[in-house]
Symmetry: C2
Amino acid sequence: MTYDALKKSLWMYASGPDDDVVVSSRIRLARNIAHIPFPEAASDEHMAQVLALVAQAQNNDAMQQFPTQWLSLSELDAVQLHLLIEKHVISPQLAQCSEHSAVMLSEDESLSVMVNEEDHLRMQVLLPGLQLHEAWRQAYALDEALESTLDFAFHDQLGYLTSCLTNVGTGIRASVMLHLPGLALKKRIHDVIESVTQIGLVVRGLYGEGTDAKGNLYQVSNQMTLGKREEDIIDHLQNVVRQIVDHEKLSRSQLIHDTPAALADRLWRSFGALAHAHIMTSKEATEKLSDLRFGIDIGLIDPPPKRPMNELLVMTQPGFLQMQFGDEMSPMHRDVYRAKLLREALADR
Amino acid sequence: MTYDALKKSLWMYASGPDDDVVVSSRIRLARNIAHIPFPEAASDEHMAQVLALVAQAQNNDAMQQFPTQWLSLSELDAVQLHLLIEKHVISPQLAQCSEHSAVMLSEDESLSVMVNEEDHLRMQVLLPGLQLHEAWRQAYALDEALESTLDFAFHDQLGYLTSCLTNVGTGIRASVMLHLPGLALKKRIHDVIESVTQIGLVVRGLYGEGTDAKGNLYQVSNQMTLGKREEDIIDHLQNVVRQIVDHEKLSRSQLIHDTPAALADRLWRSFGALAHAHIMTSKEATEKLSDLRFGIDIGLIDPPPKRPMNELLVMTQPGFLQMQFGDEMSPMHRDVYRAKLLREALADR
């Protein structure tokens, strides 16, 4: 089956609770099929066996409530893979081992199951705004449906067995993508990251592990998966995120109250650059789109652009641009085309 | 008589030959009344005598072809004086000795006669574009008209006597205001200034002697006034300006041909900042308005803003802004109000 790269991901277009700060919420479950080595140690035959078993499970009775398409990563080109990463539908790791990997994907891309990433199965539910509990409800149901015909590796005392020790137990990773321009401008962001890290949560950049926090976008997720109930993990993250959201909103109020002209100047200048520049790097676009998103969320930039901010963010990433022009595109051409896309997107505000 | 500060100067609104490079042409004649000490050495009585004589001459028969209003500088407030300087109608020097000074001003402000500046009379004709010969024609006629009832200090061998030795002889200063963004971007501007200086011309900034060349605006004028016919002085300046105009146009063509994206990026980003910033200093406005003027003159920024560039330049100077709000305006308020004026001026492009 081919992948329609222009397909719209739910998290990019729908709204959700507190989505002026919380861009998206995600639950990921790591599962492995019993009696088959983890992907790291698996032979080609083992991996093919996993693919066959999961493909079979895709069609079991319980899975009929989750209609998905099956994409073999070996059939996708580099640009399509890049785009799936930029849309947060698959991980960069899965794209790297694309030969024996696949992904099951729901129509709105809110549900996905990566096959033969670090674990045999990585299920993901990705929703707009702060919806950790709803994401968990869907992930739980998806897990049940797959488990109705798959035999997951499970240890009575440890729980689900996973490739990486940090995932053993519940195999759950709950995360949120936060947009924190207020805390960044008030220079409080490092204090917040430090506090969050001290209570056992992890803070990462836009594209997960090892990436920088570009455009004031931060991923916050749980670290521990062993010896805790899933609900407790999610409650804990939800409570911390609630507090970060409050801090962010306080910082925004202070900026609006204390330095309204300086704030308007910064955010509108970023709009001016996005709407008029003819050359723009990915880095600058991400930074200025953060300002624009901030301006829209506080009602300063009104009317907002018709194109959703998440779409502008994704469409200015290198993968999306290459999809339009193929691999031939030089970085300079990319910067020129990115600026053109942004001008067009902001012209009909 | 009061001064209507919102009156429009001809050079700011009319078009003229080569006005994509030559903003304006100016002829200034220095004259002194015989047997009265130069202003530098004159008593209050002497200056009052000069004012009376010139006021009388304003109404002589020959002057009927040049209808002018009479403004006593002592009756203008600091803000009105500042604005007259920014419109290039009077010199900063005249404003400094405002107690015994006056200016005669034609309806379109293209003709002016400063009284009791460095010399008793300084006549000025200021026209848009490259019109040195036309400006000289008018200045000559104005000089004749005033001389029909005034006795100018004249020496058979030296010519007209003036306060400063550099003006003795013809008493003429011919100058043009040039906008040279192409030469500036191609880093050729210093070579041009050096060449021009070596052949006996003077290069100055936007507001004459001792001011910086802000916004790529340069005043080029003759240095010598003694032992040359006025026509020769003007021909010489005209020829040199012609060459500078050609060099500037060549630089512009090269920029458009060699680095079109970089040029469009720079000029449109300046437009974006002017159209959207909420705080803007006078320095930044002048620089960015130079980019905007450049973009309009090469047809890149199309349609151009409805407000003429010269008006935008003048209305963002401190004097104009203070006129709107009085002396109370702090520099920060000025920067906020300047940005507001520019946003409004560029919104209805």
